[in-house]
């Protein structure tokens, strides 16, 4: 989902502006007004992991990059990883039959896909929880 910064949501006129900016997130730019906002899939975390891996001359390990939403999710509902790597966790999850793409018919090819809720439509097999 896109968001446009219609106003300056961080008050640049406040004195400790730089401190506020650093405190909130030192590795991401605080967007000013007039700029689009989008989920970057925590590009700062990807970059950090990528640079560390490159310095050691190895590919990024699966699970090395943890997006902020994934980290914060108490039920571990979010998986993040390299879709191109068939052995990665995300590739396995995406192969599951419950996997679906929102508005797939529009051919927007989003990276974020969802898993449907598992339901039991047959009451003989037990109650739906």
């Amino acid at each position: 989902m896109r968001r446009f910064n219609f106003l300056n949501y961080t008050d640049h006129t406040e004195e400790p502006y730089a401190v506020t900016m650093l405190a909130r997130n030192p590795n991401v730019t605080m967007r000013a007004r007039g700029v689009m906002e989008k989920c970057t899939y925590c590009v700062q975390r990807i970059s950090a992991a990528r640079i560390e891996a490159k310095k050691e001359g190895r590919p990024i390990k699966d699970g090395e990059v943890v997006s902020a939403c994934q980290q914060a999710c108490p039920t571990k509902s979010i998986t993040f990883g390299d879709m191109n790597d068939p052995k990665s966790e995300i590739a396995k999850v995406k192969k599951q039959p419950q996997n679906y793409i929102l508005l797939e018919e529009l051919n927007t090819k989003p990276r974020t896909t969802y898993l449907t809720r598992l339901r039991n439509p047959n009451p003989k097999l037990g109650k739906e929880s």
Binding site: F6, L7, G34, V35, L102, L103
Partner: protein, 478 residues
């Protein structure tokens, strides 16, 4: 040369000679007592609204465009509605001056100057909106591919960038076209003006025009070529504006019908605005001899024709959404008609579909009050059309989770009213400092209407004694 075409003899009414045409047109500019109280009222109101817009823009630059009613589903809001509305109005001028010139429609001669000025001022109003809507208008120069230290070029795949080029080209070509047509008239003002300062200004702008045969030859050659250049622009600009919508994936926008339907709508709105201005101005300045009932009748007919195309477009949109069988398209149409903005849709059908049908009747076409009122309906209808297209589709897109509602704020209204003020201010300022009717083309028209050999009664006697004293030019003779 003997092939003087047959012309309607009511394009110029009254007993006119070259001298009386010249005096009448120039008098508005040279004799400042010619301006009436309604003129002063319009000019002052326009000026005040312009100041209001200045304040709104200042506050906007300080705070950001969040002071408008724009919000996250409805990111375009009034801003783009007004932009498309104004740019549409701007189309009539170039259509009249370029396409009608190429089609040899002599009735364009008395309204082209006026309509071209209207085009320029409407484009000036239109251009403000997308510029401010970028959110960081001070970065707007990024939209031009200049050699920069960022190694960045604008994204030529974006229809919003096509807009930048379409509109800046249109504005440039329209301005050049307008100025080129003004040169001989500026020379006439230079020769007739008594005030040495005005003489100097008009003289500098006339760039040494002497009305020599070689001047006229180059002038006509250049003018016809500019008309040829402008003609595709008339069609391309609003097509490209319609791509802003049609290239997007949103239901209600993703329609191939948009370019022709937008262009027709633009011409429709443009003629409504020309009539809105022409009807009072011809009365205030007593130009009824030049902008005759026949002109008004023809403009009303153009309005009727383009209005029917637009109405056909609305019917098509309804049909397409039903026939597509696409759930999003069908629901979008349902929301348009019966959703929270249903009132706007039915108002639109009333203004653009029903009211113009009165133009079928010649009596209404020649009834100035009725015609003026119909023009206001058309202007409102064309505004509502953009409102319906933009607001309904944006607030009702694919995901119900992102639906919203749009309400304008006082700053939206201030911007819109402000541009109306800017337009009025510029338009009435123009009436005061430049000839509102193409002086030399009217004289040429009179000459063509009253060619020797087939004199037309009332204007016949005029020619012989008058032409000689009227050779424009203080140049050297051989």
């Amino acid at each position: 040369m003997s092939a003087r075409e047959k012309l309607n003899d009511d394009l110029i009414l009254g007993k006119h000679t070259f001298r009386t045409i010249n005096d009448k047109v120039n008098n508005v500019v040279l004799n400042q007592n010619s301006h009436t109280i309604p003129w002063a009222v319009c000019f002052m109101v326009g000026f005040m609204l312009l100041q209001l817009m200045g304040l709104v823009i200042l506050w906007l630059l300080y705070r950001g465009i969040g002071i408008w009613g724009v919000n996250n589903p409805s990111m375009w809001g009034w801003d783009i509605i007004n932009f498309v509305w104004w740019i549409g109005i701007g189309h009539a001028g170039t259509l009249i001056s370029a396409i009608l010139l190429l089609l040899k429609q002599s009735w364009r001669n008395s309204i082209n100057r006026f309509a071209e000025a209207m085009t320029l001022f409407a484009v000036a109003c239109a251009g403000l909106f997308p510029l401010l809507h970028t959110g960081r208008p001070y970065m707007a120069y990024w939209m031009f591919p200049y050699p920069n230290v960022l190694a960045m070029t604008p994204n030529f795949r974006s229809p919003l960038l096509w807009d930048v080029f379409a509109i800046s080209t249109y504005a440039t070509v329209s301005a050049v076209f307008w100025f080129l047509g003004l040169i001989p008239d500026l020379a006439s003002l230079r020769d007739k003006s008594k005030n040495p300062i005005f003489k100097g200004i008009f003289g500098a702008l006339a760039m040494g025009w002497r009305g020599a045969a070689s001047h006229w030859q180059r002038y006509e050659s250049a003018y016809i070529m500019l008309a040829g250049l402008s003609t595709p622009l008339v069609l391309s600009v609003h097509s490209i504006v319609s791509f802003d919508f049609a290239v997007a994936n949103l239901p209600g926008w993703h329609v191939t019908l948009f370019p022709p339907y937008f262009v027709a709508g633009a011409v429709y709105a443009g003629f409504a605005m020309v009539l809105t201005l022409a009807i009072p101005v011809r009365a205030w300045y007593n130009m009824k001899d030049f902008i005759t009932m026949r002109h008004i009748d023809w403009m009303a007919k153009v309005m009727l024709a383009t209005g029917l195309i637009v109405f056909y477009g609305y019917l098509c949109e309804g049909f397409f959404s039903w026939y597509s069988g696409n759930v999003f398209e069908i629901d979008m149409m349902r929301f348009r008609m019966f959703g929270p903005y249903g009132w706007a849709y039915w108002m639109l059908i009333l203004c653009n579909g029903i009211v113009p049908q009165f133009l079928w009747f010649p009596k209404i076409r020649t009834n100035l009050v009725a015609l003026f009122i119909i023009c206001q309906f058309v202007s409102l209808g064309m505004w509502l059309e953009r409102f319906v297209i933009i607001t309904v589709s944006l607030t009702r897109d694919f995901l119900p989770s992102s639906w919203g509602y749009f309400t304008p704020t006082i700053y939206d209204i201030g911007m819109f009213v402000g541009t109306v003020g800017q337009f009025t201010f510029l338009m009435f300022g123009f009436l005061r400092v430049l000839p509102m009717i193409n002086n030399f083309e009217m004289k040429e028209l009179l000459y063509r209407m009253t060619g020797r050999g087939h004199h037309h009664g009332h204007t016949a006697h005029a020619l012989e004694p008058d032409l000689a004293g009227h050779t424009a030019g203080d140049g050297e003779e051989h």
